[in-house]
Amino acid sequence: MLHYLIRRLMIAIPSLLGISVILFTVLALAPGDPFEELATNPAVPPDVRAHLRASLGLDDPIHLRYISWLTAMLRGEWGFSFVSRIPVEQLILQRLPTTVAVIGASQILALAIALPVGVYAATRPYSIFDQIANTLAFVGFSLPTFFTGLLLILLFSIQLDWLPFVFRTSIEATGWRWWWEMVRQSIMPVAVLGLFQGAAWTRFVRSAVLDVVRLDHVTTARSKGLPESRVTMRHVVRNAMIPVVTLVALQMPAVFGGAIVTEQIFRVPGIGSLLISAILANDTPVIMAVTFVFAGLVIFFNLLADVLYGWLDPRISYR
């Protein structure tokens, strides 16, 4: 197992390198220059500007710039933001907890909906419950988050004025009031992300369970005289969890990607909005670092999916 994990991580290294090369090249070729502002600023003499550019290595050939970026990265120096001059890792660490909290809460909500509804619907296929659940899941899955997000803002913030629609990191209150404010401003982003993902997973849980209910070993379980609830939990749901857990883990990076949109709508100061503002400002070090964090997430969750799959299915062995 440990062997397998190490080998998988070794395989991940070339992919990370590949990602970084492509990204670096694309960003270098992209129009726009972080020094644009300095160039038009008459207070900065041209020779100072040239000196600055040279000291930052901005005019070096692209492969030299890539290598110096890579060696710095390997030494754990992620560089400074061109815009705020703050170390990139500090910026990311500032933003990451908010994103993780919002995504974590929304995914828990999604699973709390998808698991019971999907299982209940699949054990009564084509019942009224199943049809209603299916329809709602289809609607939820079809509505894009930017649409539902704006809809919720219109309804709960503007019409009813119940919930704030701008997410604030600095809340003056302390103690339980602070928590209350946090919960209030998190409700809508968490609901939008959670309901969307919940709808998608409900459909998946339902079909995974439907695939298992018709298998022979379920009839065997019934022939043993087990109560129906036990047959469902131990011999249907347990087996259906193999593809479900794997898919959930595999989709996590996509969930982070999708959260960027939601973060923009609700102005959640998370890692997604950091990426967007960095892109708009040509802030290369930040873009590189954030994208790298995303690439790392993809690799981590792929590995996690593999490990969980093997843990849930004894037929899989890691060699």
Partner: protein
């Protein structure tokens, strides 16, 4: 009814099982009566699609309802009708009184639990034993069905066993609560020929040791000759002939039974001659719209107009020997 069973253990009477499908009503079992006496071995034989599995599953009410439905008849278990029984009461009969072994050992066990766990599960459910005691019983059962290193193998998963070994596990599981009746639905069909004989031997040995009645379902007449005391021949959802095994082989009356017996592979002939099996031409008719009259008419070499006019009833032609043919 055979002479030995005055009060049968299981008495299936005029059972009718229908399936609602998109094309219409499939009459999978259409008025079947089978008795199984205490400690008796009854073979139910017939080609694929004759309703054997549905009959067996219906005894334990394991068919999916819907689309399935018991449209009529009784299933008397020690005199009590199981058809109207609630699911709770039905559960206490499963495995504890009537156990079943299925055709496909490769898919009948849950791949995510060890075989020991799966046997222990039924013991815990039906005998209310604790975890340890149940596992001990599971290991004991695995030993009983001759699984080598039972103590260690109990902690292996199904995929670590061969088909024959898995069928042994299934038999161990089915017998773990000492049922009075074991229904074995083509337990050897999915296995290699050499393994088939071993499983049949095992069933015979278990029967000798534990004394339960056996209802063995098969499509192979050769198997019937080896193990049965009494034989029920099914064709297209109906019983067409029933007799003690010697009587049936000595004096098969129904043309379908005669065809089945002729199709038994004969090792003595196969070795010397170029002996072709005499398979019955044609196939089992659809149970969606079964033909009126004798259902075997389309394949019968003795067919007459009378056969197609009305369904020949099951009648007693000798003591304990019944058949449904006008001849």
């Amino acid at each position: 009814m055979s002479a030995s069973t005055t009060d049968p253990l299981l008495s299936i009477r005029d059972l009718r099982v229908h399936f609602a499908t998109d094309d219409g009503m499939v009459r999978a079992v259409d008025g079947v009566s089978i008795d199984v006496g205490r400690g008796e071995t009854v073979c139910v034989v017939g080609e694929s699609g004759c309703g054997k599995t549905v009959t067996a599953m219906t005894v334990l009410k394991l068919i999916a309802m819907p689309p399935g439905r018991i449209a009529g008849g009784q299933i008397l278990w020690q005199g009590r009708d199981l058809v109207p029984l609630k699911s709770d009461a039905m559960r206490s009969i499963r495995a504890k009184e009537i156990a079943i072994v299925f055709q496909e050992p490769m898919t009948s066990l849950n791949p995510v639990y060890t075989v020991g766990e799966q046997i222990a599960e039924v013991v815990r459910q039906q005998e209310k034993l604790g975890r340890r005691a149940a596992m001990d019983r599971a290991i004991e059962m695995l030993r009983l069905v001759h699984i080598p290193n039972a103590q260690r193998r109990a902690h292996d998963y199904p995929h670590q066993f061969s088909g024959g070994m898995r069928q042994r596990v299934m038999i161990a599981m089915a017998l773990s609560c000492n049922p009075k009746l074991l229904i074995a639905d083509e337990p050897t069909t999915a296995l290699d020929v050499t393994i088939q004989a071993q499983i049949l031997d095992l069933l015979a040995e278990m029967k000798e040791r534990l004394g339960m009645a056996v209802m063995l379902i098969t499509h192979a007449m050769g198997v019937v000759a080896e193990v049965a005391q009494r034989v029920v021949v099914m064709y297209a959802g109906k019983v067409v002939e029933e007799a003690p095994v010697r009587e049936l082989f000595a004096n098969p009356r129904h043309p379908y039974t005669q065809g089945l017996i002729r199709s038994i592979p004969r090792i003595d002939l196969a070795a010397t001659h170029h002996h072709r099996l005499e398979a019955i031409p044609g196939t089992v008719p659809s149970l969606l719209n079964p033909p009126v009259g004798c259902r075997f008419a389309a394949r019968c070499r003795y067919v007459t107009d009378a056969c197609r006019a009305a369904e020949p009833p099951l009648r007693e032609v000798a003591p304990g020997h019944k058949m449904a043919c006008i001849l």
